[in-house]
Point group: C2
Chain length 337, copies 2
């Protein structure tokens, strides 16, 4: 449907007037009606053109529905990531929650600084400090307990500056894009450096992405029978880092098909985009460029969080789509309830 | 559909005559017509009853379609596993294929014995020998190369005694069961101790199970750019063993939902069945019992391959379904082409 109309609009040599929507499916929105929070421009046009040429039967770039895998980074691509990754906010809140059971934290870094409210001092220890915080706050529960902890936090915690709930800081244009792709039989996956079990409790409700379509970083778990009842215990031991070179590894391990479309916003997504681009046939690679200091944040080459430097150069050199958030998005976040 | 009819047949207090098949879906087969290779008896009846009570709207045991996860062991559950795991046959064939490039194998075990055709002697080294054979035959290729190697082998290799192709040694009743569950909106997954990349190249064609629904054991892979082209290289290093306690771990890591139905045939599947059974609401756990020495193989408590000992006791104690292959299956393998 979109395909036929769009082909007409763009003057492509596809038979116009034919309507290929099967009778047993509801007619899908016209491209003109899809992606309402995207401004007219090259990014929106590129998305429509890609979906048209991969879904229109008879198109030389047609992709079978089973192969329509679209992967999305999460932090900075589906929801915001400033002034720090939201999962780190969760970890800091949890340090305070757990502190009474850990009296030694008062005298040992990075916990001592955190408990005094000095986040920057705590994080001065770099990756080692962050790993320590993550293990102390993400392990030593069962998977069921951790799910419940995440659900409680995500339902109540508020972003330090916007005071919105974190799930209200998802990008409205990306929600529309996820829907639009799914309407066209793409299967949408998250492929994030974030913790898989930190995302799964809420991705279905917020993004329409079910637990089995979430790929992320993980710690090890162990099966145990406790009083005859089986549980999975989360161990303070890293299992897999789903970032940079890890993203294609995670995609192969968990999905087993190469994506045809990939969306990211930082150098941590570059290998995922390279892996996607290297497949045969039509591919779509896009970078979100955070350019809107008024409505969101503006950052790229110099940012400690979500640095986009090499990726920006490669996107320009290879003609990947660059979504300029200030230019291309009519809205950033969903309307407040 | 099946549900309403079956409820009537069994005299259950469900409203009969109501037809709940949505108008946009084809009517599904009646239970009487489903599972034609299953003999009438308690196993077939238990399957029908479970599907009825979990899919009939209004049933107290109704399971939402998104939660209808059914997991299947592969070796000995979906295809045969005697006289040795078929993946080991693949490995042995590949040792011969690779031997010219490894002149040292002539003098080092387990390869020397294998190359002399003395399989039992080679395997006398136990798990260490098997690990050596697996690493030598499954690593040091790209993922794309390995996929192609597996596809070539599975299309041509023949079972040592039946002379059938290995994919013709899948169980016809289980193919029907997979179809029947999918017709009732169950999502079918393989959860196997076998190698994930050894299964994925053919599971979609043979079982209708796509790559993203295969969970298995794995070796590590590494992302590399070779002449600017991204590849994933298979490393001779174990990543994950999807067997015994590993099966619930693999299910949580890869699927992220607890299954409502699980099918296995050995003690290696016990933890998967325990994990499935421990969920809230209706659950179905079944063991295949290899009892047919004429048409297949008969083995259980004493077998080195597919030992079923503790699992058999627990299945009996907990009232899980035990499929007696001799009694319950009218056919074992699909008809020969």
């Amino acid at each position: 449907m979109q395909a036929a109309l769009l082909a007409c609009t763009l003057g492509l040599a596809l038979p116009c007037g034919c309507r290929n929507t099967p009778a047993d499916r509801p007619a899908q929105g016209e491209p003109a009606a899809a992606l309402p929070s995207w401004n007219e421009g090259p990014a929106k046009q590129a998305i429509f053109a890609f979906v048209a040429r991969t879904t229109e039967p008879g198109s030389p770039d047609f992709v079978a529905p089973a192969e329509r895998i679209a992967v999305f980074d999460n932090d900075g691509t589906l929801w915001a990531e400033q002034p720090m990754y939201f999962q780190l906010c969760f970890a800091l809140d949890r340090v305070k929650q757990l502190a009474p059971a850990h009296p030694d934290w008062k005298d040992s870094e990075p916990f001592a600084s955190l408990l005094r409210g000095e986040v920057q001092a705590a994080l001065a220890g770099g990756e080692a400090a962050i790993a320590q915080i993550l293990m102390a706050t993400h392990a030593d529960t069962t998977t069921a307990e951790f799910e419940s902890i995440v659900k409680d936090w995500i339902a109540s915690a508020r972003h330090p500056t916007t005071k919105r709930r974190y799930t209200e800081m998802v990008y409205q244009p990306m929600l529309e894009l996820l829907d639009y792709l799914r309407e066209n039989d793409f299967k949408t996956y998250i492929v994030s450096g974030g913790g898989i079990e930190f995302m799964r409790p809420w991705t279905e409700q917020v993004y329409g992405i079910p637990p089995e379509q979430v790929v992320g970083s993980s710690i090890k778990t162990k099966f145990e029978l406790r009083d005859g009842k089986p549980v999975l215990v989360r161990l303070p031991e890293l299992d897999f880092v789903d970032d940079k070179q890890g993203k294609p590894v995670g995609i192969q391990a968990r999905i087993g098909r190469r994506p045809v479309a990939a969306f990211g916003n930082s150098d941590g997504d570059l290998q995922m985009l390279q892996w996607t681009a290297a497949g045969e046939g039509a591919r779509f690679c896009a970078y979100l460029h955070h350019t809107d200091a008024q409505r969101e944040w503006a950052y790229d080459r110099e940012s400690h969080i979500g640095r986009l430097d090499k990726g920006l150069d490669e996107a320009k050199a290879r003609g990947w789509t660059i979504v300029d958030m200030q230019r291309d998005w009519a809205a950033i976040f969903p309307p407040q309830p």
